[in-house]
């Protein structure tokens, strides 16, 4: 649920044309920028980069912008999308939409996404870059998790733990998930509980049990569910579960009842 409504005028394409931008490209500095420059120039020999550069997002029904249609999700466009992000200058909402598009395109640009994430200041844009960790190679996922772990924005930390929980090899990232279970933010603790449940992370069972006393009902609910997914018999036998059958929150009570029902 987000507040409506965007300033739609902010969704205009970049002021500068692709040709003008290409003519004034700065010399790349960091290694990832070199990689991006090379991929960009290669891809633009075959693609209509002018059209991709000036493409505007649509406004979703929830009020935020999104790039629609499969053309822009062609992985071959990913360097161009990354370049739009690197160049900056577009409205923060559009930059977030570009970051989401880059994640959906799914191209693993090596260090480019991590490089962009390192230099990104906007928490929403960074979160959407971190969401690459769901699909990216393990090395990129680990680098993004490292950035997120120490990031002050709970939105970024939440995105990381959710992305790691969705990975097929998510159990390889259990250290991060265990760390996020002790996060100071309620929503991050909730998301980490969910991720632990999805991955049926056995080492998370005891940390999850500690969250059954969490003051937040969502945290208790997700922790309880996760314990049930990891080991339903052990969860049912945990003394806190009987107590939660009388929890103030009806959803928590329902889950506890389910666990206690043979």
């Amino acid at each position: 649920m987000i507040a409506l409504f965007l300033a739609l005028a902010a969704l205009a394409a970049p002021a500068e044309s692709w040709d003008a931008h290409r003519a004034q490209l700065d010399p790349p500095q960091a290694p990832w920028e070199h990689k991006l420059r090379e991929s960009l120039l290669n891809s633009c020999t075959n693609l209509d980069c002018s059209a991709g550069w000036s493409a505007s997002p649509i406004v979703t029904r929830a009020g935020f912008p999104r790039f629609a249609g499969s053309i822009m999700r062609d992985p071959a466009f990913s360097p161009l999308i990354a370049e739009r992000l690197r160049a900056g200058g577009e409205a923060p909402e559009v930059r977030a939409a570009l970051a989401e598009l880059l994640a959906r395109a799914g191209a693993d640009l090596g260090g480019v996404v991590v490089g962009l994430a390192h230099s990104e200041k906007d928490p929403l844009v960074l979160s959407l870059l971190v969401s690459h960790a769901r699909w990216s190679g393990a090395e990129t996922a680990r680098a993004l998790a490292e950035i997120a772990t120490t990031h002050p924005s709970p939105m970024v930390r939440l995105e990381a733990v959710t992305a790691l929980g969705r990975r097929a090899d998510g159990t390889d990232f259990s250290g991060y998930i265990l760390k996020f279970l002790a996060d100071r933010n309620i929503e991050v603790r909730s998301a980490a509980s969910q991720a632990a449940g999805w991955l049926a992370l056995t080492p998370a069972f005891d940390p999850l049990a500690r969250l059954l006393d969490d003051p937040d009902a969502d945290v208790r609910r997700h922790a309880l569910r996760a314990m049930g997914r990891i080991d339903p018999l052990r969860a049912a036998a945990h003394p806190a579960v009987s107590r939660l059958a009388a929890d103030l929150d009806p959803k928590v009570r329902a889950i506890a009842d389910d666990l206690l029902t043979p």
Binding site: M1, F5, I58, T60, R61, M155, E159, T162
Partner: protein, 528 residues
């Protein structure tokens, strides 16, 4: 007022010149509509700029003998009790909120007109004939104005609105072409979204309804607060809809806006009966949550109308947060209630998927959703867990509540297979339809015709051009009542990817329902 009445009954006698029979034919009730349209185009509701001769004034014809009696040494006094009413004789306002008493002059035209200035006004007009200080008789005329009646899916469809949008890699032209073919060119307005900042979500901007009087009526369109200051579709209703016979009204403060204030989140059921209470115009359902809710002013307005007492399912678990994303009502002429209630169901979705070949390819889902086959979806354990949780925490309690509040039983319900996915960081990881939300459909049912359901094409097949090969379409068709015709529209790039579906991108004008003063008095008594 009490003194005036006392005067009336202080009878002295010289014998009446006329008798009580002159009151015969006095109407007992005038039922009209609040005069909220703007016939003269001055930018003001007509009720705010009183003018005689407005066709939205309700006629009040007194018996000619009653006014003629004034010429025979008799006085006819009229008293107005209650607010929000103006009574005209000819070009003159003779009674209103500030003028409560009218001494009807000799030779007065018996044809009066009543103007209501708000919804649900209740007033009484007392007519008293006094001849030579003797009260000959009196009569009361009850004056009532209409509540807002929101349209529901059993009212006949009359006109469909859709916005046109085309851009680099996306377009809704195919859907518009399909819609035009189904509803007919004269019944569709295709509006360029470029005139409205590419805002295509016309379902969310306005809600059609009616104000119905015995001899007058107008369409009343609620204009949402989602777009203000000319952002997006904000000026659309003024540009294309408002005018004589069509009024607009808005409730709420835009500064407190959330997507719950959009009108895909505001719907009405068909007529229902709940524990012996009939709701002949159905009940409004409007999504809200623990932390967020639609504008309090709008909730209060809808509650006050009385005839469609709202119920509030939780829609805050959805990224967009609209009730149309997970339930709707489908006309079914063969059903005992005339409709079926359709609601999404995760278990039905997994049952459907498990009956398919896991190797079946899903080319349409690969690029946007990241699933290239049925097996990919089935094997995503986190997706399954999320969906099971949403079903248990949100959909099941909603179904229980809707059954209870709308008097539905199991035979009224159709469970439609749908999976949701995590909507990501923009939306705090709430839910959004993964397979196109086929429940998020539009109902096109012109009077006397078979109802047509305008449904998003799920593209749950390998050959995207061959709808007949789609197992999800087959499953959906099998779940539908026999008396409806289904159409599967390509809404993918502009709507599905934009977090909406066919219903969200269309809006349908409907014929008015019947008179509330006959069928819904019991609800108005309760609400007052």
């Amino acid at each position: 007022m009490r003194a005036a009445i006392s005067l009336l009954i202080g009878v002295t006698a010289c014998g009446p010149l006329v008798d009580e029979a002159v009151f015969e034919g006095t109407p007992t009730e005038v039922v009209g509509v609040p005069n909220f349209d703007d016939d003269d185009g001055d930018g003001l509701r007509d009720a705010l700029a009183p003018a005689a001769g407005d066709d939205d004034h309700a006629p009040l014809a007194l018996p000619p003998a009653l006014t003629e009696a004034v010429a025979k040494d008799c006085s006819l006094f009229a008293y107005l009790y209650g607010d929000g009413v103006r009574i005209y004789q000819g070009d003159t306002i003779v009674l209103d909120d500030s003028v409560r008493y009218w001494d009807v002059p000799e030779g007065a035209d018996p044809a009066l007109a009543v103007e209501f200035t708000d919804y649900l006004q209740r007033a009484n007009l007392q007519l008293a004939l006094v001849c030579k200080d003797e009260l000959i008789g009196s009569a009361y005329v009850r004056l009532r104005s209409a509540p807002f009646q929101m349209n529901h899916h059993l009212q006949a469809a009359e006109h469909l609105y859709v916005m046109k949008l085309q851009g680099y890699g996306f377009s809704n032209l195919a859907m518009i072409e399909q819609l035009t073919e189904i509803v007919g060119e004269s019944n569709i307005s295709v509006v360029p979204s470029g005139d409205y900042e590419q805002d295509v979500w016309i379902q969310d901007e306005i809600e059609f309804g009616h104000l119905i009087g015995k001899e007058t009526g107008m369409e009343l369109i609620l204009d949402s607060i989602r777009g203000t200051d000319n952002v997006g579709l904000d000026p659309f209703p003024e540009d294309h809809l408002a005018g004589p016979g069509v009024a607009l009204d808005t409730y709420g403060a835009p500064r407190l806006l959330t997507s719950l204030d959009s009108f895909g989140n505001l719907e009405a059921s068909p007529p229902v009966s709940v524990n012996g209470v009939n709701y002949p115009f159905g009940r409004i359902y409007f999504g809200r949550g623990e932390e967020y809710a639609p504008a309090a002013e709008l909730q209060s307005f809808l509650n006050r109308q009385g005839v469609q007492a709202p119920v509030y399912p939780d829609s805050s678990w959805l990224c967009v947060g609209h009730v149309d994303e997970y339930m709707t009502f489908i006309p079914d002429p063969s059903a005992p209630k005339g409709f079926r209630f359709a609601i999404t169901d995760v278990n039905a979705a997994y049952e459907f998927l498990e009956g398919l070949d896991p190797e079946q390819g899903l080319p349409q889902y690969e690029s946007f959703h990241g699933y290239s086959s049925v097996g990919d979806i089935l094997n995503d354990g986190a997706l399954r867990a999320l969906n099971k949780d949403w079903q248990a925490d949100q959909v099941d309690p909603t179904l229980t509540m809707m059954k209870q509040e709308l008097g539905l039983d199991e035979s009224d319900i159709i469970r439609l297979p749908l999976l949701f996915e995590d909507a990501g960081a923009w939306c705090g990881h709430t839910a959004i339809a993964l397979m196109p939300g086929m429940v998020n459909l539009a109902v096109w049912n012109p009077a006397g015709e078979t109802p047509h359901l305008l449904i998003p094409d799920p593209f749950f097949r390998e050959d995207l051009d061959y709808q007949a090969s789609d197992p999800l379409i087959a499953a959906f068709d099998a779940a539908m009542p026999e008396g409806v015709q289904t159409h599967y529209l390509d809404d993918w790039t502009v709507y599905h990817e934009g977090m909406g579906e066919v219903h969200c991108g269309t809006n349908i004008r409907r014929a008015p329902s019947s008179g509330w003063w006959e069928d819904a008095n019991h609800l108005l008594e309760v609400s007052r």
